[in-house]
């Protein structure tokens, strides 16, 4: 079983991705800065637009790229972009969590999974035969959501930064029980993943 060397892969992804991102982002950035200069949009908005662009682009990459590793890495970009969004939404803690869990754990897990399953061996099969339907449904779903969101009149109030302390209070006190249950969920995932994926060496004991 031939395994592709990980570092070189990442190198290629980073270099290639940067080139593409640069080609797209630079003009957009220019436009946005121009708008900012004309006082048409505020600073956070500019950041928001940038992040949104990155997120959408990366998300598209994650679902469109044929190379599975690139796709998985796009997910990291999305996760990081969303962490940025969280910052814009004044939840530093969540941004932190997002970066740690997604940028770290989840991505690594996925990459391990990709390598263990040799998924990249056969890139042509990555997309299924129902792609046209998928495309249509995806567009329709997006449209439906966008219509719904823009149609509504949101009764927005004042925003304030969530204090870590308040967050902790709420998370561990008010939502103590779900938190405990979540630990059970993690336990299940842990135990289950092990039990299922473990190669059983003690087969003779079972009979």
């Amino acid at each position: 079983m031939q395994r592709i060397a990980l570092p070189s892969q990442i190198d290629r992804v980073i270099v290639g991705g940067s080139l593409v991102a640069g080609a797209v982002l630079v003009p957009v950035l220019v436009v946005l800065i121009a708008l900012l200069g004309a006082d048409r949009i505020s600073g956070p908005e500019l950041v928001w637009w940038l992040l949104a662009l990155i997120i959408v682009a990366a998300a598209l990459g994650a679902v469109l790229l044929r190379n599975v590793v690139r796709a998985a890495l796009c997910l990291v970009i999305v996760a990081l972009g969303i962490a940025g969004m969280f910052l814009l939404l004044a939840s530093e803690f969540l941004a932190l969590v997002q970066v740690l869990v997604y940028g770290g754990g989840v991505t690594i897990l996925l990459l391990f999974g990709l390598m263990l399953t040799n998924a990249q061996d056969d890139p042509v099969v990555q997309d299924g035969s129902q792609k046209p339907f998928a495309f249509g449904v995806g567009i329709a779903l997006g449209a439906v959501i966008v219509i719904a969101m823009t149609d509504a009149t949101w009764n927005t109030g004042t925003r304030s930064v969530v204090a870590f302390r308040a967050l902790g209070d709420r998370l561990y006190r008010d939502f103590g029980v779900p938190f405990e249950v979540a630990s059970l969920v993690l336990l299940v995932a842990l135990v289950g993943a092990i039990a299922i994926s473990r190669r059983d060496r003690d087969e003779e004991e079972v009979a």
């Binding site: 679902v63 997604y102 897990l109 996925l110 966008v146 823009t150 969530v162 998370l171 995932a189």
Partner: protein
């Protein structure tokens, strides 16, 4: 101030993209990736709603934490199952996991 709709539309697009991925992808792992995209969209929604509409109780943020945690756990568990399926049929192509049908 960034309008709430911005976040919501972004999340909607992200969700749709994720769903598209689920539908279009064949690799189990890439489907998982797409599901993660959808969950990320959910997180944006929750946090946005929490900070715009529910600043006092910010339940959405708590919710998001749980979502992130559960999503991570799900990836772990799903990978375990995918690996097992892979061991049995030497492919992570979900279209080929169709012995059970009809």
């Amino acid at each position: 101030m960034i309008p709430l709709e911005n976040f919501l539309v972004l999340s909607g697009i992200l969700f749709a993209i994720g769903f598209y991925g689920v539908l279009a992808r064949r690799s189990a792992i890439l489907i998982l990736v797409s599901v993660e995209l959808m969950l990320a969209a959910v997180s944006i929604n929750f946090v946005a709603f929490a900070s715009y509409l529910d600043p006092d109780f910010f339940t959405g943020i708590i919710f998001s934490i749980f979502v992130i945690v559960v999503a991570a756990a799900e990836v772990g568990l799903a990978l375990g199952i995918v690996l097992r399926a892979y061991r049995e049929r030497a492919t992570a192509n979900v279209d080929e996991a169709n012995n059970l049908k009809w």
